[in-house]
Symmetry: D2
Subunit: 378 residues, 4 copies
């Protein structure tokens, strides 16, 4: 399978460059009978849309999605769903100066060495604009998963040095998360984030971030050992997002210093007593919340000059013009949610494909024991 | 593709349970003409083999591999390579007591809920014994990659609280790494590790670890955007290893607090000046060393009692008998190397499948600028 | 992989219904550097286009294709190529009467039972209109294959009782094939075909056909044993075309009555002396012409009434209105060529992915021995 | 996916050469809970086994299969099933003389040009011996399908000029089919077949054959449009069998001369009135019997000399020694059944993966109308 398709049964194949005519995707394998219209998808796209605050790129794209197929009389038919977003605000002239230069920490050099040609306008295919189609496809997955009781949501957990990870996941107010441009779970910290970003902007620099995504209402049984473990496919999906440099499931790198007695989550009839596992045991969902964290590197496009080379291998100093987010992490929450939703959707279908005959009398353990008032998951 | 196959062009499909008759795998898509014999594979298996030190499980398996096909007169033929390891030391009686119980932090509960049946002997398919076939298949990938100048190697970078990550990767003495049972890059720290493990063993507890894997001699151009980025596939492969809870590429989670000017690696005609990227830009290898770190959770099988439930959903206290590693990370280095090698091998073939016509006149940047005497990669 | 994607390295994913907004596809894995514009694709689409003669459906669609991505400054970039054809002539009202009925020999009943919903307008996804995107994608494959000297071409070999299969393939005048609306290789028989079709139209009936596709200029080595043999993948691709009920490679069903001495093609330094194999031995191309034949069933949409049932399971008599080809085979030649081209393209890339290191000193046998003046291939 | 794996959810990956140590396969994705033991598989292997009559190769292999994994306490666990058959009767010395020659109509030349190396002993990987693992895997699929009421069976329908295709499929006595070494559905014709084969053997020649496979008890809904239609995947599976040169579904090539009124199968509440479709409409099963026919070429290994070349491109005369079937079609029935079963199995799982939510009130049409006493299916 070529590299622009994701999934096994529920697949998403995308195309499109930053400054081409359009972005699009084909969602294949969607179960029939799901009510779906453009507004369902648009509302997710709008969460990711650039230009919504002064801390994101000022490129103004309506990102209006059209459903071209696969939906009939408001309901999915089981045939492929074609989605299209036309590009409207393509200021290609901004990019002429980098035609023959490789911007540091960008894909310019690697695309060039791989393909011998690159669409340099806005990074072409390597632009984060590509993630719009992930969000669009993820919206369909999310909607289906909701019919099974599964909610996929995320938030900013850290912006540079500022940690806003909540102590207790079950107390996150998800409405608040969506009510500020940072997807910050704690509204009282938004001012602090704004101040930080304003200072950063003055400096002309950029910063990394950490995002947390959570799937609640999970069922046990999703995930295919050995290689297509649920956590492995989540890692695949999340690491495939532009700028992501690290992925953790549950306790993640904190596991390194944990002892066995500390890490292992006890099972009780009333629920697990902690969630160091992040909802996955042996590659299969346990029914606990799936919890994943990702690290995003700082935006590489800076107005501050950087050392690089040109296509002839000669040293140059690159100053990136164009419109860019000073922190790509700010808009990454909907993208990470989308990738998690795509993985869960695919595994939901794969699981019932193989195991629809199975019935087990053992009761399903609740996601969280009611007696627990703290989580160890970060 | 079902869950026990890894790769697209160079594929590995494995089978086998901890206490079944045998473990095996089929490697498909191996280029023909590669000299290969059982000793090539055995030497990698011996690096992972249990029972090599007092800090690993005392189960004694020769893990003697047989090549059943795909090699003729000492050379690969391009047809599938069948590998087999017979299980010889299966003390199934050790596991009778957990037949109806779910060991905490193990896959017992999730396999049961997914499949309605499980081979409880030693964890069955979920046992880390399965990783032997990854190492065996990885040995073939490694050998081929070496013919292209690519070396895949790894080491322990942290054991619980003890950090042994070297400051400068280029100064790692790889012979030393393989000369101690911990794969510790710094021989002067081995005593410290031994003492820590002895104390842990007395306590009856276990501990997490961090492993670093490195591919040097890389070529630019490997990796398929958008979803099958090289780093995404590396994350997939590494997260699919038992007990892994986190994966980082290059600067990983350190990127969260880095500024753009700090993170971005400058390109100069003489080499990159740092390697925060971990050798991957836009999902495509840059020619720099690939650097990845993984977090492994502490062994879940403890002689210390833990709370759980049984198949009827009733609370039980589980004490794990059997033979186990107190730190699964100790033996994980060869496994992580194998998974990295499999990913690179597959992408090497995929890349030349699509791009064998490409010729680029831009010189390839050396992996590391000779003027640089420090790396930022951790 | 879901069902609307074809290929492994060079993949085509399609979407679109007969009376939806648009048809589209994503071609992934195309080698970079191939000159490509819309006219290259349009000329193939025009060969398939409905409404070109009185013997094909009178639906008039310009089938104007747009390239949305993957091409920069007239050359492919190696990133996915998005293609779009907007539907313009959708007379949905013609189909209201079959909303609750299952037309015999159509996919109405099976889609309904599978998905519980169907876009009944013009057959929705099951319409042969879907094949436009195969032709569009095939045009790209053809163009690349030509750069390697491989030509993929086809013709009508039989229309109902009228056989127009040439005796000697090497004497086919390919310009003539494209100069008549039947893709008939013998221009002297076109009148006969026209008369037959006029009589059939008066009768209100339809007829089957046989198409032959040929790839010349082949290289030895394409095809992946065991399951992805070149001939198996060709059979897959050709049988996936609407209305196809049979596929033959080389001698095909004539092999049943052939003796070994008759079937086996002798190898001589000057060339093979016959081509019963159809260019494939052991699933791998021999360098001879690839020759495949397909059987297409007669159009199922007839103005003559047929027995069927409705969605309640009650008997009904169906009379199909709408605009239809009385012989789907007439327009099938470009579609069959496209599918053969897609298979060859994919295997070309797969082959060099695995085997680019191979060099063999044995000379390649010419496709056809010059001393041979007859072929046994049909 | 590399070429030795078949299927999407229920996958079979095989390895092994004719004269290597063993043949083996891994079945992945099998639903858990299926009772399975070695005898279930062995009985199918014994149907295919060489040496069972004087008309098949005299190579005597017990073909004793071992289940190495995936079955626990007599029941499948959902984890991969490893199967192994050790080779015991490998008379490699028979093949030394063809080491440097390419046998006509064999894969010798094509493997050599593709891989630059070949295991010449008995054809190595290209030997029909490989099909043993298809039969073994097919036995598992068959057993599962039977739990859903689906029976997959086949017979010889033609041997050279002798046609033994029954007029009415529903009257085939399946016990009789398995009671003669030809899988002939008409026991009164067995003598005729024996005489023909004896004459052929004296002549030193070989002959082609036609096999018919049937799946009865089908459910509607299996098959994934557009490219993975059920018939397309059946064609893929059947054409991948050694020596197969043609595949027909239902009326097959007879469709070419059929009119629409003749071909289209009427739907009535009591059943379809004919089965020209072969049980597939629009790529999806209709619930009618799946009917497919395949053409097998005559054995290429003849004691009669044939013209060829050697590895230096020089002309040689080849006389094949070794033990061979004079008609590969005689033993092909179980192989064709196995491939059909694998396709149906995979699509059964894929279908319920996507469509398990669907409920349709339209009654399922019986496979065959009770009023019909003839079939048009050949």
């Amino acid at each position: 399978m070529a590299g622009n398709t994701f999934g096994t049964l529920f697949t998403v194949t995308t195309f499109g460059e930053s400054h081409g005519l359009a972005l699009g995707c084909i969602i294949d394998g969607c179960p029939p009978g799901l009510p779906l219209n453009e507004a369902d998808i648009q509302q997710e796209l709008d969460r990711r849309k650039p230009g919504t605050s002064k801390f994101t790129t000022q490129r103004r794209e309506p990102d209006a999605v059209k459903i071209l197929s696969g939906v009939f009389e408001g309901v999915t038919t089981g045939t492929p769903i074609g989605l299209l977003i036309e590009n409207t605000d393509q200021r290609s002239k901004d990019y002429g100066n980098i035609k023959d230069q490789f911007r540091p920490a960008h894909a310019d050099y690697t695309y060039w060495q791989k393909y011998g040609i690159r669409d340099y306008r806005g990074g072409g295919r390597s632009s984060a604009r590509e993630t719009a189609m992930r969000v669009a496809a993820g919206a369909v997955a999310k909607k289906y998963l909701q019919t099974k009781g599964i909610m996929v949501r995320g938030f900013l957990s850290q912006l540079g040095p500022i940690k806003v990870m909540p102590d207790v996941l079950t107390e996150v107010n998800w409405d608040e998360v969506n009510n500020n441009p940072f997807f910050c779970p704690d509204p009282s910290r938004v001012n602090e984030l704004e101040t930080y970003m304003q200072d950063l902007r003055k400096e002309g620099n950029s910063i990394g971030a950490k995002i947390t995504v959570v799937a609640s209402g999970m069922l046990p049984g999703l995930g295919e050992p050995i290689f297509d473990r649920l956590d492995a496919d989540i890692a695949h999906g999340l690491m495939s997002i532009n700028a992501v440099k690290g992925v953790e499931i549950g306790a993640g790198f904190d596991s390194v210093t944990q002892k066995g007695t500390e890490h292992r989550d006890a099972l009780t009839p009333g629920g697990f007593t902690s969630n160091n596992a992040g909802g996955v045991l042996g590659g299969i969902s346990s029914g606990q919340d799936i919890i994943a964290h990702i690290a995003l590197k700082p935006t590489s496009s800076l107005h501050l000059p950087g050392d690089s080379i040109d296509v002839d291998g000669q040293p140059v100093t690159v100053v990136t013009k164009g419109r860019h987010d000073p922190c790509v992490g700010i808009r990454a929450t909907p993208i990470a949610e989308a990738m998690l939703a795509l993985v869960l959707m695919d595994h939901y279908l794969r699981h019932r494909g193989q195991n629809a005959d199975v019935s087990v009398s053992t009761p399903v353990i609740p996601a969280q024991a009611p007696v627990s008032d703290t989580t160890n998951d970060t």
